[in-house]
Symmetry: C2
Subunit: 304 residues, 2 copies
């Protein structure tokens, strides 16, 4: 176990912390896009951007920036951009040519409301705007750090990251010979790369040194994989109501998942171990790392 | 007419200039993307990126950077990024849910070769990589200028630019009440915004002052609109062989075009006037503006 002042750590109120951070992120996102002519595209972008969700990537970015001594203001533009990019990936993933999903977060998907053409363009618009937003709106951060953040995020969403993971995921569809290494490649790229970028970008904005960046990158990779393992477990064990999306979808699609390799109990154990490693990555930071430690615990404890 | 040393200007060899610049851009583009695992997505990105084309946006960016006293090296990453963004917009425009085109530059479109899912992702990958490429690869330019370029480009491709123009274009499909103002909105955004960004970003990279940026922005807006008017005219007057794509497509689709409002002769006259205004915007720069002036002339003289 990680050495922490456990009483103090247990008293850290994650629920209150998440609610406060979420409220700040929601307000910043709501301000980030005005609806002007041609209204339809801005409405489509806002529809998916403001459709709720845990705002985990923005919150991780803000928390890491603060851990290294930066302010919320320094990281808020990047935090919003992370959510724009995440939203873009969901809109495009849901398209008929991809996963063909009709519902997301309990609401009709973007293309069901606005049509496929507008959904494709809304994704493109959000992706382009994410970079514009960071470049134009970041305050009180030296320009070279902002460039590092843009390079990191671009890589995290492109073929070397999220897009590459999605491609391998599509290639594995309907195949029974998928290995656990390939499954891990998919998750490290499809979801892991952007989570890692969220954490490391927060650190870069605050001026973190190479050692901090490395430790925080490992923390992020550990919670990213744990997050995905728990996602697979919840797909089997949670009800549709708890998930807000169709449950048992992976089983139905005969998709390779961690439980399909390891079973449910071993999958949970692996996730717990990754979370413990993630918390060990934070040992050097003392109580200023409580938010990031609690976020790691939250991943294995969550119900959706 | 614009006061230039006309003998010298007439002797400027645009053909040789374009060939030399194109060769440099092609080489830089070919180096910009390596094919690694998962190969399919990198191949799909390269397939459309290396499919030829005039490379007008990169060449404009390089020419403007040089006009203001910068080097090719300073602008080459941005020049490549402009072509990545332009290519992304073509891949997504050609999708079945959008214009549903089977051929582009005489070759099967991206989704005909790689499938719709990969084509969507190849576009996303190119867009993300464009920003990563500028942020990570730009040499010998102060970081704050690079940030201005990223903000400018993000705006040019997003809902306030290319994406917005495409949305209005889609809204006008099959409608007979499209005004010339709406047509001009579409073109100023769908093609004009990225051309303008190409020119202004070259100037920003070289450290242009506000006056230069304004003049060059006007130059770019003038040639951008002239380019589109001539495109509409060529759709009627050129053969399929000359165009490398289906001719007469606008007429067949009963699409609003400049010739449908003004007729062919008046459309040509308007384009000529815009080109003359564009050249007048360059009057202050003397012979160092010959490449940009010749590029303006080239737009009305071209056959495809």
């Amino acid at each position: 176990m990680v050495a922490t002042n456990s009483q103090q750590y247990l008293e850290f109120d994650l629920k209150r912390y998440l609610a406060a951070q979420q409220a700040q992120v929601e307000a910043a996102l709501a301000r980030s896009i005005d609806v002007v002519y041609p209204e339809k595209i801005y409405e489509a972008m806002r529809y998916s951007l403001m459709a709720g969700g845990k705002r985990l990537r923005p919150i991780l970015c803000l928390a890491t920036c603060q851990l290294i001594g930066g302010t919320t203001a320094m990281a808020m533009s990047t935090a919003c951009a992370l959510e724009m990019i995440h939203t873009m990936s969901l809109i495009h993933d849901d398209l008929p040519a991809m996963d063909n999903d009709d519902f997301r977060r309990g609401k009709p998907t973007n293309h069901k409301v606005y049509g496929e053409d507008i959904a494709i363009l809304a994704g493109d618009g959000l992706l382009a705007y994410a970079f514009e937003f960071i470049a134009a709106q970041t305050q009180d951060v030296p320009a070279d750090r902002v460039l590092q953040v843009i390079a990191k995020l671009g890589r995290a969403v492109g073929a070397a990251g999220l897009v590459g993971g999605q491609v391998v995921d599509l290639e594995c569809e309907g195949r029974s010979d998928v290995t656990v290494d390939t499954l891990t490649y998919i998750h490290r790229h499809k979801t892991g790369a952007l989570l890692e970028a969220a954490v490391v970008c927060g650190a870069i904005l605050a001026g973190a040194n190479e050692g901090d960046r490395q430790r925080l990158s490992e923390y992020a990779q550990n919670i990213g994989l744990a997050f995905q393992i728990i996602d697979d477990v919840l797909d089997i064990t949670a009800t549709q109501e708890e998930l807000g999306k169709t449950a048992g979808k992976d089983l139905q699609a005969q998709k390779a998942t961690y439980p399909s390799f390891w079973g449910i109990e071993e999958s949970k154990r692996q996730a717990d171990q990754l979370v413990n490693e993630a918390k060990a990555n934070l040992a050097a930071y003392g109580e200023s790392a409580y938010p990031l430690m609690a976020l790691a615990d939250y991943i294995t404890a969550r119900k959706n």
